[in-house]
């Protein structure tokens, strides 16, 4: 097992380098550059400023040289300074925002699993019952509604009509003067809506997967033989069927990490949550290459690690994989 993990870890490096090469060149294929955008048709922008910035950002070098400059820094784990006028270290910028996005997504992910898995398993078990049909309808409504619209509606209803929840942001103005419990309550209040809506939108795919794979398992011979031997339905469902039905879901978990960062863009804008999605969007629009690269590298690293964990979990659950 250990050998397997080490082998996988080593093979991650060439993949990561490959990703950086492709990202870097694709990013530079997009027309437009930082300096043009900063200039943005401002009549006060001086002639010499353009040259000054182009030099400062090494944009006058050929692309492969720019990549090598970037790679050299990256080798020492330096992501460079942002092109935006704050000139902050990319790693600090990401460090400020990554925990927020990751934290919110992990909470939503856990909730999605807690709610969606039983729903899926039960709909499979009681397939074609009223319960199954109701779940199907609700789940598909959640899947089909545009999330930003639902978010605005909920903000209006819970924030203004009922006045129960704050509308956006992560904390209140008076956050610093609150007690510890007050602070926790304040944050919980603020993240309730965003998380509830993410969860509502995310239940569909997981519960459908759960339902399909449970159905498949329930139709297999060993379940039938368990039934024939008079094992109770509860034991069949939870001890025998669930374990096998979980297998495909583990894979989805590993693959969902890049999606998490991607889908955060709209969400974080609507709820004004200062997370990675917002930063990524702004950086791409500004052609802030170092920040874009930093986010891509960290995003792909997380994806690779996620896949690795999924594979390890897979190997742990399914011996057939471990020994092949």
């Amino acid at each position: 097992m250990l050998k397997y993990i080490i082998k996988r870890l080593i093979s991650m490096f060439p993949i990561l380098i490959g990703i950086t090469i492709i990202s870097f060149f694709v990013m530079h294929l997009a027309p437009g550059d930082t300096v043009t955008i900063q200039q943005s048709l401002n009549p006060k922008y001086s002639e010499t400023a353009r040259e000054k910035f182009v030099k400062m950002y090494n944009l006058d070098q050929p692309i492969y040289k720019q990549y090598l400059i970037w790679l050299k820094k990256f080798a020492t784990l330096d992501f460079g300074d942002s092109f935006s006028s704050d000139g902050r270290k990319v790693i600090d910028k990401i460090g400020d925002r990554l925990p927020i996005t990751l934290g919110l997504n992990i909470i939503s992910m856990i909730l999605i699993f807690i709610i969606a898995l039983p729903l899926g398993v039960l709909s499979a078990y009681y397939r074609n019952s009223i319960f199954d049909k109701t779940v199907t309808i609700i789940v598909f409504i959640g899947f089909a509604i545009p999330m930003f619209w639902l978010a605005l509606m909920c903000m209006y209803f819970f924030g203004i009509v009922l006045g129960w929840l704050p509308i956006s942001g992560l904390t209140s103005y008076n956050f610093d003067s609150l007690t510890l419990t007050g602070k926790i309550a304040d944050v919980i209040k603020h993240i309730t809506l965003p998380i509830a809506i993410t969860v509502f939108g995310g239940i569909a795919s997981i519960s459908r997967f759960g339902r399909t794979s449970t159905l498949e398992v329930l139709g297999q011979d060993y379940i039938m033989s368990a039934r024939a031997r008079g094992v109770s339905e509860k034991t069949i469902l939870f001890r025998y069927a669930l374990k096998n039905a979980m297998l495909p879901i583990v894979t989805i978990l590993g693959l969902s990490i890049p999606g998490l960062i991607g889908s955060s863009v709209i969400f974080e804008s609507v709820f004004s949550i200062p997370g990675m999605g917002q930063l990524f969007y702004q950086s791409v629009m500004m052609r802030d290459y170092p920040t874009v690269m930093g986010i891509l590298v960290i995003g792909s690293l997380l994806t690779l690690i996620g896949n690795l964990i999924a594979d390890i979990a897979y190997a742990y659950i399914d011996p057939r994989i471990r020994y092949s």
Binding site: A30, Y45, F53, K189
Partner: protein, 560 residues
């Protein structure tokens, strides 16, 4: 159903209950936003009834993106400049009627040859850290602006300075190489503290996130991606502002901002024409907010690429101008929250010339003009043609601007009515600038300009600004306009400049290189508890230091 269903139901009920208890325990209701509980004493009672301005309370506002850098000279985003406008001052500023008056300079003289300005500085100004503001700071700011190590984009005006001289602690003299009347307003540049920045690399300065200025407010706290709090500057040289704090909340989505406004979390925001006309007609808004409207400093236009046929033809441009239903655009898209424009100035300023050629909607005249040029529908397909070629072109707009894409659609429809086949192409902003605008690869565009206070139009209209990345990207060339533009730059006298710019407007209107569409109104929603509001051509915030809230209506309290 089996027990499992009930177990799950029970788990859900318990979770909901726990969450509810946490909420109830937190105990703060919506209206309870204050930092510290108010501590009213009897002797303060008179202030409850008094109508005199009293200190206290805060103004909470939304910003669409996080400020990037609070040294304004090196930031180029509007969010940063919004915040720094409270923190820094220049030597001169524009007053409520957009006239140039002294700010940190109490007076100035211009020499007889008009090439030299002597500024006399105020002697009662202190930086936020208590150090006095002197001529040394002005000198430093000048050197800072022209220093190649300063990553600023605003150095152009200062590179025209021939010599800079400190006469004494409170007097400086600037000499220019040539006559340059916009020079005076360039000294509205944000003054930087010499004692904190001199000899240091600005890109590593702590002032980028902890600014020290001379302005009415100073930075109190900045929480990344969330909010910025400014506290009042007790020693502000004009007079101490009444409002204790200014709060900026970062809210990227304007629909969300509007909900936060209705909710009372923010006190003011700029409403879109749609929000101002269609979404504010409700009790909740009307009870708590006033909407102030004033002409925004910008205009939207249709621009022709004069390098390309057939747009190099003046008659054709006039025909298209007549075929443009400005009124439909203003009514249909901006819900009448805009004024028709005929030139590059705001209609409520002294620079505006209303006696220029107007192009009121007249499709018949447009058709007649096109016929003169030889455009006719000879193959009866509903579209005009000339020498067997259909009259068609493409309108190019940038992505993410809904108003501009709606304008393009109205134009498409209107031009179809006179027999022109128009297609619309939408391009992402950065690509739009670097691939289309800067390289001259477009036929017709819909765009907008900000209108700056100085009437100088050189950058947008002078023929020398047509090459490279110049702003005259439509490549307008008119020798007389060129001559007048330079004359305007060399004239200080307002009346004389008025004559020059009136003539320029007439010439431009006659050439019709742009179809000037409209100047929109800014629609500012502001909570009714703020008193002493005075809308003016400069907007609302020109007298912000005089705004106050009556004791009974104050919403936020701060520990002294």
């Amino acid at each position: 159903m089996s027990k499992i269903v009930y177990i799950i139901l029970a788990v859900i009920v318990v979770t909901v209950a726990v969450v509810a208890i946490v909420f109830l325990n937190s105990g703060t209701d919506k209206t309870d936003f204050h930092y510290e509980a108010s501590n009213t004493k009897l002797d303060e009672l008179h202030s409850f009834i008094s109508r005199d301005p009293i200190p206290g309370d805060a103004l909470a506002t939304a910003t669409i993106s996080e400020p990037i850098n609070l040294i304004p000279a090196i930031s180029s985003d509007s969010a940063s400049h919004d915040v720094t406008s409270y923190i820094y001052n220049g030597l001169v500023k524009y007053n409520k009627n957009l006239e140039l008056v002294g700010d940190l300079a109490s007076s100035w003289e211009i020499s007889d040859d008009k090439k030299e300005i002597t500024f006399h500085l105020r002697k009662d100004v202190k930086w936020h850290d208590g150090k006095p503001f002197t001529a040394k700071d002005v000198e430093f700011t000048y050197r800072f602006m022209i220093d190649n190590l300063t990553p600023t984009s605003y150095d152009a005006d200062f590179r025209l300075v021939d010599s800079f001289e400190v006469i004494d602690n409170y007097t400086v003299k600037v000499r220019y190489k040539t006559l340059f009347s916009p020079a005076l307003n360039s000294w509205g540049i944000w003054m930087m503290p010499q004692h904190l920045l001199d000899g240091k690399l600005v890109t590593q300065s702590a002032l980028q996130r902890n600014p020290i200025g001379t302005g009415p407010y100073k930075l109190l706290s900045w929480s990344e991606g969330d909010s910025i709090h400014l506290a009042v500057n007790e020693d502000y040289f004009e007079s101490k502002p009444f409002l204790e704090r200014i709060i900026f909340r970062v809210i990227p989505d304007t629909a969300t901002s509007f909900l936060e406004l209705l909710n009372g979390s923010i006190d003011t925001m700029s409403l879109s024409a749609m929000q101002a006309t269609k979404q504010t007609d409700m009790k909740r808004y009307k009870e708590n907010y006033n909407t102030y409207s004033y002409l925004d400093s910008s205009y939207t236009y249709v621009g022709f690429n004069l390098r390309r046929a057939p747009f190099d033809n003046q008659t054709l441009r006039k025909a298209l101008s007549y075929a443009t239903p400005k009124k439909d655009i203003i009514t249909g898209i901006l819900f009448d929250r805009a004024e028709e424009s005929t030139g590059p100035y705001k209609t409520d300023t002294i620079w505006y010339n209303k006696n220029v050629e107007r192009y009121d909607y007249n499709p018949e005249k447009a058709k007649a003009l096109l016929k003169e040029l030889g455009y006719e529908d000879s193959d009866n397909d509903g579209f005009l043609d000339k020498k067997g070629k259909k009259f068609e072109f493409e309108i190019l707009i940038n992505q993410g601007n809904k108003v501009r894409s709606q304008i393009a659609e109205i134009l498409q429809r209107a031009y179809k009515d006179i027999g022109i086949d128009v297609t619309i192409r939408v391009v992402e902003w950065s690509t739009f600038l670097s691939e289309n605008i800067n390289k001259g690869r477009f036929s017709v565009i819909v765009m907008g300009w900000n209108i700056v206070q100085d009437p100088d139009l050189f950058d947008v209209w002078h023929s020398s600004r047509c090459d490279g990345n110049g702003l005259n990207f439509i490549c307008y060339k008119n020798d007389e306009v060129d001559k007048l533009l330079i004359e305007g730059r060399e004239t200080y006298d307002v009346a004389q400049r008025q004559v020059i710019y009136n003539k320029i407007q007439e010439l431009i209107a006659d050439d019709a290189p742009y179809i000037f569409l409209y100047t929109p109104y800014a629609n500012i929603a502001l909570n009714k508890r703020f008193k002493n509001i005075e809308p003016a051509p400069a907007g609302l915030k020109h007298n912000l230091i005089n705004w106050y809230v009556r004791k009974l209506e104050q919403k936020y309290y701060f520990k002294q």
